[in-house]
Subunit: 370 residues, 2 copies
Amino acid sequence: MAATLKTLTVELGERSYPIVIGENLLANAAAYLRKASVPDKSPLMIVSDENTAPLYLQQLETSLKNDGYRTVSAVVPAGEQSKSLDVYNDLITQAIEAGLDRSSTILALGGGVVGDLAGFVAGTYMRGIRFVQVPTTILAHDSSVGGKVAVNHPLAKNMIGVFHQPELVLYDVDTLKSLPPREVRAGLSEMVKHGLIWDKEFAYWCRDNAEHLLALDAAALAHGLEKGCGIKAQIVSRDERENDLRAILNLGHTLGHAIEAVAGYGQFLHGEAISVGMAAAALLGEERGVAGLYAETVSMLKALELPVTLPEDIDSEALMTAMQRDKKFREGKMVFIVPLGIGSVEIANDVDADTVRTIIERLKGREEQS
Amino acid sequence: MAATLKTLTVELGERSYPIVIGENLLANAAAYLRKASVPDKSPLMIVSDENTAPLYLQQLETSLKNDGYRTVSAVVPAGEQSKSLDVYNDLITQAIEAGLDRSSTILALGGGVVGDLAGFVAGTYMRGIRFVQVPTTILAHDSSVGGKVAVNHPLAKNMIGVFHQPELVLYDVDTLKSLPPREVRAGLSEMVKHGLIWDKEFAYWCRDNAEHLLALDAAALAHGLEKGCGIKAQIVSRDERENDLRAILNLGHTLGHAIEAVAGYGQFLHGEAISVGMAAAALLGEERGVAGLYAETVSMLKALELPVTLPEDIDSEALMTAMQRDKKFREGKMVFIVPLGIGSVEIANDVDADTVRTIIERLKGREEQS
């Protein structure tokens, strides 16, 4: 345990909070909550889903109850469909009925869906109460850090949300052992993204250690999550509310979100969709003059067994429309995060729609390439 | 116009914003939006209700369109019922369909319901976009200042919300001329509340000028709104997120919200309910040793033609239950704002449930008194 225990801090002034990464943390959750000054006078609500609840809920409840916390648990269906206003409303009702008040805390035990959903509940219940992230997926190392919480609207993802920083992120790597291999790969997509935007050495480390990461080696995971969360934390610290810098975290997301929407939520996992989006961004980088970017980027994504092409039958114009509805479409121009090289990106506000169309067609024809 | 034009500022650091009060402001709305740096590149959405839209929407639209702003308008049913997640979701859909992006602004043209609802849309659409309050009721001088926005849950009022400060509050007193007399009186309830909690002289000014206020004299209204908004602004500046001081604005609200919930939303207007709540708080103050408080408070409320008693058939235990579900019920104790005299209050965290029960019964028997 000591070998893998890592603690880092998201520096946000009075909203700063720790991220704790390591093995066997769930069983000691109460101690970490006390350290983060989570009060025990008011009830806590643990939100999990039908996948995570049977595996980890009891362990978390027991740790908290044994230390004097009163908890209620809400379990939502697994999957992106739960990021809806309907499920949100159900959780609000349960919170009221359980007597949660302004001193209460909501814990999100699960992946990005649970974190985003429970975080939006915490951010809006009585105009905002405390929130703790307990991620159980690799993907959630991205979404659990930085305070962006939201639910989906039928017309577009994450349209309804707030910025609401957690008090604590408690990352027990033991919970990752239960992930299906496809989820593991999709999670590593966000990990390598942090290397691609910010840290060349880390991007290559992900490629070189792909085998250990895919095998869920605890030391490799703890290092990868520490670096991934650390990069995210640095960026969020400099730009909490996504006025400028923070947008670089959206590498691969402009197209990625469109793929998720057009293919139907859930057809592509988020990490898979942004992997294709990162391949697209690399092509865009090459268009803008950075030679060799696509091959190098794709070598990293393929090492992590991630998709880098589009299905031939996906509707290109539907993708274009969805991209223009995305939040990153601002004041009438197409905005993409474009690599300047491995480990460095720029925010391009002037991307031409025809260039994007061409790249979409190229990604459809690349099934057997490289 | 010059005689009544007042401008004050809510001081909140980088979130500071002006409140402009005066006659004939709607026709000049665009100039005030420009002054507040509201951008014109992205579409604006004006939210109003079926009462305010026919009276003022076209004037506001015209002013904005003539100055190069693109606007879309959404009209919701009038009344508290529109402060629901369903109506909220409709507005989000309309905002997406109209192409609102992160540079867009939402304007609330109406009373507290429209302000709270549109503000919650603005506070959560794409995790928060710009917001301008254009209040058309006296009551809204309270709700439009301070950034508290919310919708109701069937189990309790304002349970779902955020803090989201506007860029500008534009208060055209001409719009108050269309208010039904009952709405005028209910609005003056929040005005005198500001005197009762903070400014003895202003509380007596409200009583002494009740006739002018009830007659909607422009100079009296502009002065009363300036003082009321100014007191609210001072308090919000010192405690933006209601950690302590801001709670004093809830004088009369613990019981008031319960009355609204138990009598059925809309049976009591908000201002009427808190008037009864302020009478209750005065009785509580007398219980705690301040002699003469009740008679003096009631003289002010009655001058403004406000109710100070409870219907005999209202369910006392239902009121008690509703109060204990209120956000101000914190960590198991009953919290009331209790007067120390006219113009000064304290936050009492230790109020005994039986004392509250006794006061409820006394308020039922007071129909013909004083």
